[in-house]
């Protein structure tokens, strides 16, 4: 790996957004392939995910890493698009109807982007019908639902039922503080993950 790509990976790992931007610009200016820049970025986020899952780093460190990643992506994304390099898999994500909490959802989203998923964020307070419309439009592989409140767990159940009955060719994964594996299975979701790093592993399994 060249020096600038190593510096990009390090900048992501340590959450240094200015270094990440500079290393990305330098790599692209030097004519390195956009795929190699993307790989360096993904390597950084992969390391962040592993250390987060092991409780070696915490939410703030993941957030600064994701911000650094975004600074790099701002430069890289147009070039990836122009080169026809696209993520293999698409995920629709949203916090369920009645629930406005999005810290957890956003962490999952950042980690998925860092693992080179295309992520379509539907935001918070998202109704079943909105998910259905977005599935038609974006044809995702996975729909990811988040809920923080016990009072919105029934909404999550309703959305999962609605999507399962719609016959769409998707997998559904769920998460959020009160959500458990048992609940996920009971409502007919295809998977549950307890944290953002595990969500990436789950998404990769569901797409395999």
């Amino acid at each position: 790996m060249t020096d600038s790509l190593e510096r990009l990976t390090t900048a992501i790992k340590t959450g240094k957004r200015k270094d990440a931007k500079a290393a990305t610009a330098e790599s692209l200016d030097a004519g390195l392939s956009p795929q190699s820049v993307l790989d360096a970025l993904t390597a950084g986020m992969n390391d962040v995910g592993k250390r987060f899952k092991a409780n070696e780093i915490f939410v703030p460190e993941v957030l600064v890493a994701a911000r650094a990643m975004q600074k790099s992506m701002d430069l890289l994304e147009p070039i990836l698009v122009a080169s026809g390099i696209q993520p293999k898999h698409t995920i629709l994500i949203g916090t369920v109807e009645g629930d406005l909490h999005d810290i957890g959802k956003n962490l999952v989203m950042m980690m998925l982007k860092g693992a080179n998923f295309k992520v379509i964020d539907l935001g918070v307070n998202v109704a079943a019908e909105t998910f259905s419309q977005a599935i038609t439009e974006h044809k995702p592989n996975i729909v990811a639902l988040s809920a923080l409140l016990t009072t919105t767990m029934p909404a999550m159940e309703n959305i999962v039922q609605h999507l399962n009955q719609s016959g769409a060719d998707i997998k559904i994964m769920v998460g959020g503080a009160p959500i458990t594996q048992d609940f996920a299975e009971r409502i007919g979701a295809d998977g549950f993950s307890p944290d953002a790093a595990s969500a990436v592993e789950l998404a990769q399994q569901l797409c395999a």
């Binding site: 409780n55 915490f58 703030p60 460190e61 600064v64 629930d99 406005l100 409140l149 009072t151």
Partner: protein
């Protein structure tokens, strides 16, 4: 023992005559207004609309008749202003999105959009951008992040995040004089929320009480500070602690030792399965400032200090003790590492557990009354011996919790106390 003596004995790790019980003494040990109404019906109390004492989480006031009926030990004196920056005064009726008739402050000003979402305004000022949002199908408000368009993360200004911290107003002083006169002589323990001692309570960071907040007001932006701007946080918390010390002296001059428990801090340090920062970060950024606040309280008052943090905070309990906190709430036993017996064995003689009584994410809302009873009995058997335990659920009793489960919870504590 009077309820006050019972609470004080429990906090000071002496065996009280009965296990003391709290519901409604703070904004993290409360009950949703819809459940308060059902409790009033259950105990056949006078039919009247419930007062929303905390409009963000829509907590209902547990008034004296309900405190008596449930045999609760703690009387709150709530802050002069709510989280949306207005005083709770001149109550008026309001119909909630779920159709309940409640009473709210005359300054509780809302609008509704064409989808049935409700918006609430800081200080009751509808000319300001709304600072809270309740979706049509929800039972609570959540804060709206209003980010200053001129905010620059490379040019942080301490003063921007100090706007809401200042000396106690004459209006607030008068409020405390009136309230302390009202409750002096009460045989219940008195609990109050201190103002400005949370040091980064994430519910307050977006400043839903300010009409035009500046500085770091986004939740994610705030969390990132502990990773890349720890010195900014330390300076900010030093200033906040300095102001808080002056206000605590004023409060003490007015209320003296009428107050038994002060809620110092609602700042969450835990998630369901981890922490929001490392133990060394907590000890570097927060510990010295919390210690300064708690030391002042212990050196100058007879108050006991209450720390709230949700989540898997077992690795931080020693640090909370080193900070000088006397009480930990809500003791989220469902989070990783928060095994009740382990907590009692390792920390039970050094910090009081106020909470932990039943899981409000699973058992209380979704279990059977018998499952609630079994869990409550088990927690009481583990936590109660030797004092150091005040019974409360793990955080507020949420909307949509079956009333029979809430009754099972309360009845079981009385059963444990031999009072059934």
């Amino acid at each position: 023992m009077t309820p006050k003596q019972r609470i004080r004995a429990a906090i000071d790790h002496q065996q009280p005559d009965k296990l003391p019980i709290d519901f409604g003494s703070s904004f993290i040990t409360g009950i949703h207004c819809s459940v308060v109404e059902q409790l009033r019906d259950h105990y056949k109390l006078e039919k009247r609309p419930v007062k929303v004492c905390e409009p963000y989480q829509m907590l209902g006031e547990v008034e004296a008749d309900l405190l008596d009926a449930m045999r609760l030990d703690v009387q709150p004196i709530f802050p002069q202003r709510t989280i949306f920056g207005f005083p709770n005064e001149n109550w008026k009726p309001w119909t909630t999105p779920w159709g309940q008739e409640v009473l709210v402050s005359e300054h509780f000003k809302t609008t509704e959009d064409n989808k049935g979402n409700t918006y609430i305004y800081p200080q009751g000022d509808t000319s300001a951008p709304a600072s809270g949002h309740m979706p049509k199908t929800s039972f609570f408000f959540d804060t709206i992040e209003r980010i200053d368009p001129d905010f620059d993360e490379d040019e942080l200004d301490l003063e921007d995040n100090l706007e809401e911290f200042g000396p106690m107003s004459k209006e607030e002083e008068a409020y405390w004089v009136e309230q302390t006169a009202l409750w002096r002589g009460s045989d219940r323990a008195i609990s109050v929320h201190l103002n400005g001692t949370g040091l980064g309570d994430i519910a307050l960071v977006p400043a839903p009480f300010l009409t035009n907040p500046k500085g770091v007001r986004g939740v994610s932006d705030w969390y990132m500070l502990s990773a890349d701007e720890p010195d900014f946080l330390k300076k900010l918390f030093d200033r906040q602690a300095e102001i808080a010390l002056q206000n605590m002296a004023k409060l003490h001059a007015i209320a003296g030792d009428l107050i038994d428990v002060v809620v110092v801090c609602g700042t969450d340090f835990g998630t369901q399965n981890s922490l929001f920062c490392s133990v060394p970060s907590m000890r570097d950024i927060w510990l010295p400032r919390y210690k300064r606040i708690n030391d002042w309280i212990h050196n100058n008052t007879n108050w006991r200090t209450f720390k709230h943090s949700c989540g898997a905070v077992e690795p931080l309990v020693d640090t909370f003790i080193d900070c000088g906190f006397d009480i930990l709430n809500p003791v989220q036993c469902s989070a990783d590492g928060m095994d009740p017996q382990g907590l009692k064995d390792n920390y039970g003689d050094r910090i009081t557990f106020w909470g932990g009584g039943v899981n409000t994410q699973q058992t209380l809302p979704f279990g059977t009354p018998e499952q609630v009873r079994q869990e409550v009995l088990s927690r009481c058997e583990v936590f109660a011996p030797g004092g150091g335990f005040v019974f409360n659920a793990i955080h507020n009793v949420q909307a949509q919790t079956p009333i029979e489960n809430v009754i099972a919870m309360i009845d079981t504590v009385h059963e444990f106390n031999g009072d059934k």
